[in-house]
């Protein structure tokens, strides 16, 4: 069998902006099942002009793609221009489906987010990156004299009526979650501050793994060679 026979698959694009606004675009007018939003179906506007290429790798290099939407339709103002001017598309969640109408199923899906949209008089380009974009984020939290948790977030869990928190221990106590405070408020007046490196040379071992300095390996009481 060379290829599937029948009509070529169409392209369905679901977009959800950070403010919750939803958009359903396609290169084929019709009502289709949705992947974002309440659904189960939505009218897909025939705005998609081009999709791809999608570059996918086996490595942690970020998979990427692109959706191009026409910016021609509209009466006085262009429809797409109005859409993008009024809301933020950076970081918008996007589900692209390569959709086979005859079987009403996606042959392939790409889930990603919008990097930075580019608008021209004729089109809107939405560059996409995969959700598992590992390159952007630092891996570890940092020690601070203040708390690093988001106030009233799941890890903080404060139910205080106070609207804000300055992330100090005093504020944390006043908001009833001092047991979750994760800062180190020890810079007390008069206390000797001794600079030292708890993990010598940053990464202490020749590689990840040993959290001590090399001298610590020479444990007292060990056998003499």
């Amino acid at each position: 069998m060379k290829r599937r026979s029948g009509f070529a698959p169409i392209n369905l694009v679901d977009v959800q902006c950070a403010n919750g606004d939803l958009f359903y675009w396609s290169d084929f007018n019709g009502v289709f099942p949705t992947r974002l939003g309440a659904g189960p179906t939505a009218q897909y506007s025939c705005w998609v002009e081009k999709v791809g290429p999608f570059s996918l790798t086996r490595s942690l290099k970020v998979d990427a793609g692109q959706i191009v939407v026409q910016n021609i339709t509209g009466a006085v103002n262009r429809d797409v221009s109005q859409v993008i001017i009024r809301r933020e598309f950076i970081g918008a969640l996007v589900v692209y489906r390569w959709w086979k109408i005859e079987i009403e199923a996606a042959l392939w899906e790409f889930h990603g987010s919008v990097k930075s949209p580019r608008l021209s008089e004729a089109s809107l380009i939405l560059p996409l990156k995969q959700l598992l974009d590992t390159s952007q984020q630092d891996g570890l939290r940092l020690y601070s004299e203040q708390c690093s948790l988001r106030y009233k977030g799941p890890m903080c869990a404060s139910v205080s009526g106070l609207a804000t928190c300055d992330l100090t221990f005093g504020n944390c106590q006043a908001r009833g979650v001092q047991e979750r405070f994760d800062g180190l408020p020890f810079a007390t007046p008069g206390a000797a501050q001794i600079p030292s490196s708890p993990f010598p040379s940053g990464n202490p071992s020749p590689g990840p793994g040993d959290l001590t300095d090399p001298q610590a390996r020479a444990i007292r009481g060990r056998a003499v060679r």
């Binding site: 069998m1 060379k2 290829r3 599937r4 009509f7 070529a8 698959p9 392209n11 084929f28 998609v48 002009e49 081009k50 999709v51 791809g52 290429p53 999608f54 570059s55 790798t57 086996r58 490595s59 942690l60 026409q70 392939w108 899906e109 959700l131 598992l132 952007q136 891996g139 570890l140 020690y143 004299e145 977030g153 221990f169 047991e179 979750r180 994760d182 180190l184 020890f186 007390t188 206390a191 030292s196 490196s197 708890p198 993990f199 940053g202 990464n203 071992s205 020749p206 590689g207 990840p208 793994g209 959290l211 610590a216 390996r217 444990i219 007292r220 009481g221 060990r222 056998a223 060679r225």
Partner: protein, 558 residues
């Protein structure tokens, strides 16, 4: 003396498996009786427990709650208060806070594993500093079955569950509490079948070792998520693929082809073979790691271990260096009842040592190893040489024989065993350079184009093939380059009904590259996945299969 030297602005370490840790000393106070109180933040919780602890380089009993309180790093209990009463194994404020000046606020150190210490003055300490070092079982992680049902939350060295934990912490549930249940939507982001299969693969015996791969790694300084994930994947020969919003974990292992690509699918004239991946690949790999095993200090021959009335006598093959009071570790003996850590009670002769095993039956055994726990985590750096590639790139000139040219690569395998590291290094070389045999031939890289909608003779679709899957290039595509290839990269260009600007829906005229998948493939080398140590056995020469500190020959697989 009161010292507060918490290091602020530095990273909170993240550690999996076994680690040797010192920690961020946030408080050090000397009391009137010259005893000292100190607190050490170890890393993001929740950790499991200490295994061994040394104070001023002397082994101590970490379970002694009059001196040591280990707190695993759970979430602080809201409403639990900050009364300094805890003696460890929870996340309340520690009792030793009561010994500190009143200006030091007791805290729970929510979500941070920490050790609180109160030790007497030590006139015999090697330095004036208080030095506390421990071996720990670090983070506890969630485990799941193939259906996504959580089956546990515990300490493990299985890479699958450690990698999943990192994904959950940083990407899927970054604000989750310790062991908080995943929601249904969160679970849809994870290919549990792949994680479960990978866990089984890692846990299976890799030949001489109990498990094929384990993950023991710590990230004490700032690193981005990519670096951390690459490190973990490197240590278990694996890769991650996200497809359709689902994250899959796959060990790179011997596997079968899942798509047969024939001339029916292939777009003629697009095949581009080359050997670019082999051209600059490393052929001299040094794998650095901290050895988890106990290095060999002495060997015990056959019949060299005897136990009578609870007293064990070991007779080493040569003079040993131990003294009475040393704690020795016996990691290997024919009779497993001799294994463990023991304090030497007597040195009858220069080759013998005695320790107590009260309650154990009389027995005779042998073929063992004697080491010391202090020497765990010693740095190792075995190397792997791909001689055929070195010779191939080592041309010197007309009339001159080739000499090996080393193209070096240093890789960090965290805390590991020499056996696993050798397996990982061989894979690293074989994958791009092929087996180190004569005649030698490097695997080809192919780039070709095929129709996205291709379906093979077995009903498999090309579009469903994930990166890392094997694709068989049929001889109808190329007589010369037929065979199995690993899918490295895909470039998809779906057809679009409006691509011609008419907005006429499917079936309109498409650009030339519409509906095409460009595949980048690498020749498949099954030898890269051989468990090289399957046939070796324990014997009187223990260096055959354990991490012999004094015997580490250049590794070359059979």
């Amino acid at each position: 003396m009161q010292i507060l030297n918490a290091q602020l602005g530095i990273a909170r370490p993240l550690a999996y498996g076994r680690v040797r840790a010192k920690g961020n000393q946030i408080i050090l106070t000397q009391l009137a009786d010259r005893s000292r109180v100190s607190f050490y933040l170890l890393g993001e919780g929740k950790w499991s427990s200490p295994e061994r602890l040394w104070v001023n380089r002397k082994r101590v009993d970490w379970t002694d709650v009059t001196q040591f309180h280990f707190h695993p790093g759970d979430d602080g209990v809201i409403g639990g208060g900050l009364a300094a009463t805890s003696i460890g194994n929870d996340q309340f404020a520690d009792e030793f806070f009561t010994l500190l000046p009143a200006n030091i606020q007791p805290l729970t150190f929510s979500r941070m594993a920490y050790l609180a210490v109160h030790v007497a003055e030590d006139p015999g300490a090697p330095t004036s500093d208080l030095e506390v070092v421990g071996d720990y079982q670090a983070l506890e992680v969630r485990t799941f079955n193939a259906a996504g049902v959580q089956t546990g939350f515990s300490w493990t060295t299985n890479p699958a569950w450690c990698i999943l934990d990192l994904l959950l912490r940083k990407k899927i549930k970054p604000e989750g509490l310790i062991n908080e249940a995943l929601t249904a939507a969160e679970k849809t982001r994870i290919g549990f079948q792949s994680f479960s299969d990978a866990a089984d693969y890692y846990a299976a015996s890799g030949g001489g070792s109990a498990h094929r791969f384990e993950l023991n790694v710590a990230f004490p300084s700032q690193a981005n998520f990519t670096t951390m994930m690459e490190q973990m994947l490197l240590m278990c020969r694996s890769y991650i693929v996200e497809e359709g919003g689902v994250i899959y974990l796959f060990p790179d292992k011997d596997r079968a082809s899942t798509f047969v690509l024939t001339s029916d699918h292939y777009i003629p004239g697009t095949l581009q073979p080359d050997e670019s991946l082999a051209e600059n690949a490393a052929n001299h790999i040094v794998g650095t790691f901290n050895d988890l095993n106990v290095p060999i200090v002495a060997s015990v021959g056959g019949g060299g271990a005897s136990r009578t009335s609870g007293v064990t006598t070991l007779t080493c093959t040569v003079d040993h260096p131990f003294l009475v009071g040393d704690t020795v570790n016996i990691p290997k003996m024919d009779d497993a009842t001799f294994l463990g850590s023991f304090e030497i009670t007597a040195i009858p002769t220069s080759t013998q040592l005695e320790f107590n095993q009260v309650g154990q039956p009389d027995a005779v055994s042998g073929h063992g190893i004697v080491g010391i726990d202090e020497e765990r985590f010693v740095q190792r750096a075995p190397m792997y040489e791909h001689l055929q590639h070195q010779l191939a790139v080592g041309q010197r000139g007309v009339g001159l024989a080739t000499t090996p040219l080393q193209i070096p690569l240093s890789l960090d395998y965290g805390n590991n065993t020499v056996e696993c590291v050798k397996r990982l290094m061989a894979y690293q070389a074989y994958r791009y350079l092929g087996a180190d045999t004569t005649p030698w031939k490097a695997p080809f890289k192919l780039v070709l184009q095929a129709w996205m909608e291709s379906v093979d003779v077995n009903g498999n679709t090309l579009i469903e093939q994930l990166r890392g899957d094997l694709i068989t290039i049929d001889s109808s595509v190329s007589e010369d380059f037929g065979g199995d290839y690993e899918l490295l990269e895909v470039r998809l260009q779906p057809a679009c009904g409006m691509a011609d600007g008419q907005g006429s829906g499917s079936g309109s005229s498409y650009p030339n590259d519409s509906g095409i998948a460009e595949l980048t493939l690498l020749g498949y080398v099954p030898d890269a996945f051989i468990d090289f140590f399957a046939s070796t056995t324990w014997g009187d020469d223990p260096t055959a299969t354990v991490s012999g500190l004094f015997s580490l020959p250049v590794f070359r697989p059979p």
